[in-house]
Symmetry: C2
Subunit: 350 residues, 2 copies
């Protein structure tokens, strides 16, 4: 098992990563609390209820995936915790993918104005979302627009949970793994690209996952409330979220399309060839990402969705993360006119 500790001034927590670590590691935490309440994604519960999760009594079961993040489903989770008699001194353990973690973490944040919670991510994608204390549900007006910053008391990432993931879920999670490699270094991104040139298998990704976790931890510790460098983690996400919202595709798939658009715009704006677009296009297509959707983007609708992204603070422009020639991310404001132009050029380039 590997363990990484956050480096905030106080209230630090540990991220545990390994195989078959769930039960024993969780016990280190639950033994400190009088009451423990479990929130588990329906699919995860179904897959592991006779094995890893067999001792858990009366969990709150969430609807699978993003369905857990509607306002109605969320209120249901909170009311279920209260119905079971949760107290301020209780512990909540959230077991599931990114969506369960987001909704369950937000439930822990607002039930009784905040109780302690542990994140137990069970997907590749959740290696990202389980770390950093961002919790949220979706609004009618966009993803993750209602939420709270609420640090977990610990993150237990048992890689054995990844074993039952469908291929599309692995592919979705790989979007964030690849983003973290880009943020890490040009070499890390190139190595990962070579390693996965013939397909993505969860078992091969452990090193990259652990690197990704460290990259994520570095950014969220530096800037917990996203007033500065944490924004770089939105690499690929501004347009990615808009694509996800418009086409209802999986998060990581949309992020990967967003990363490609980011590469295109970074090249355009710098008037240089930071990214080899052709090889990336081939690579992403071969892995199975729906690159063809980029050819159908409606700039007006994309802008409308991007406006609802909470990081976009002005009406006349869109806050966007690009990468420079030194492979460093930077924040910039792209005017809506320019954005329409970039999306048009991107479509033509395909």
């Amino acid at each position: 098992m590997k363990e990484f500790e956050t480096t905030y001034p106080d209230d630090n927590y540990t991220v545990h990563v390994g195989h078959g670590i769930f039960k024993e590691t969780l016990n280190l935490y639950t033994s400190r609390y009088e009451d423990v309440f479990y929130i588990i994604d329906e699919n995860v519960h179904h897959a592991f209820k006779t094995t890893a999760l067999k001792d858990i009594e009366d969990p709150v079961i969430t609807r699978p995936g993003e369905a857990a993040k509607t306002a109605e489903a969320f209120i249901g989770i909170v009311e279920s915790l209260l119905e079971r008699g949760i107290k301020r001194s209780s512990l909540v353990v959230v077991i599931g993918g990114g969506a369960a973690g987001d909704a369950g973490g937000f439930a822990a944040a607002v039930t009784l104005r905040g109780v302690d919670f542990i994140q137990v991510p069970t997907t590749l994608l959740a290696h990202d979302s389980a770390i950093g204390g961002k919790t949220a549900i979706n609004s009618r007006h966009g993803k993750n627009l209602i939420g709270a910053f609420h640090r977990p008391s610990g993150v237990i990432y048992d890689l054995d949970f990844l074993s039952t993931l469908p291929e599309s879920e692995i592919l979705s999670g790989f979007g964030e793994v690849y983003k973290h490699a880009l943020l890490d270094s040009e070499k890390a991104a190139r190595d990962l690209m070579e390693q996965t040139a013939h397909g993505v298998k969860a078992a091969d990704l452990e090193d990259s996952l652990i690197k990704g976790i460290r990259t994520k931890m570095r950014y969220v510790t530096e800037d917990e409330f996203e007033s500065g460098s944490r924004k770089y983690l939105n690499l690929g996400h501004t347009l990615g979220h808009a694509i996800e919202y418009e086409y209802k595709i999986q998060h990581g798939h949309a992020v990967m399309l967003g990363l490609y658009a980011m590469m295109f715009i970074s090249n355009e704006q710098s008037e240089s060839r930071i990214f080899d677009l052709e090889s990336h296009h081939t690579y992403f297509s071969n892995l199975g990402y729906p690159m063809e959707l980029l050819g159908t983007l409606d700039p007006g609708r994309m802008l409308k969705h991007m406006k609802h992204d909470k990081k976009n603070i002005s009406d006349a422009s869109v806050g966007f993360i690009l990468m420079d020639k030194d492979f460093e991310p930077f924040f910039t404001e792209i005017s809506t006119d320019e954005m329409v132009k970039y999306i048009g050029a991107l479509k033509e380039s395909l």
Copy 2:
């Protein structure tokens, strides 16, 4: 105008109190923000839309009173803010009584994971709830069980808003004024009792209100997250909330009945006569509080409601604030058996 500044280590805010101060004081805050969004209680909007509130465009109107604090109404407020294009850099101004402040403040806490907000309390009761950063909505299982700690950026208490309050609302607010006097000193409580022996008028209460605000500020600054002395502000509230929930009466009315029960139990437990129960009973009855309800309390149902109160951390007992012979509040655990006995004795004593 009087101004009081909180004394937290950082992020302090000012409480402004006076007559006719709303517009000018608010302007000091709004001028610092690009966008300002208003959340206004329906009744307050109706009463002041042609006067104090006439320049406010497109406010989010909340259902009057506690109706604003259902999960559904709350989600409606948040979605309305998002629909209007709120950004992280925006300011929210919440204008209304305690319920609007609680729900509107919680909306500000979770919209985009938190935006700045100003409390503009318009009732007597809200002199209490607008200060201290506690925000919440109600659960099916009890009052204020879903919420957040979210400090306002300022509190503007324009006493002119009190002019249109119905008598029952004044009486309800007086419950908290009286509680603050009890927490202040024996003399403060006695003086207030004498001053209001023939009825409660908002205009006569300004000094007591300002004292109450200072008392509240002292407690919430000392212990923002209620791990210690802030609990004393729950004086009269543990049983009061249960009474409010059971009989659906106004908050301050229930608190006053809860304060009477607290006096009774304080006397019983100390085996002394800290409070003159007879004169308090006469005083509260004469003012119009429904003291007769205390004769109908069902101990089992009261305990059930109290169990759901988030401050009550154990199953076998109820956390309760009493007062000692030196007129100092203290926290104690009362076993459920004892509580049944006290409620029985209270009913007999009436």
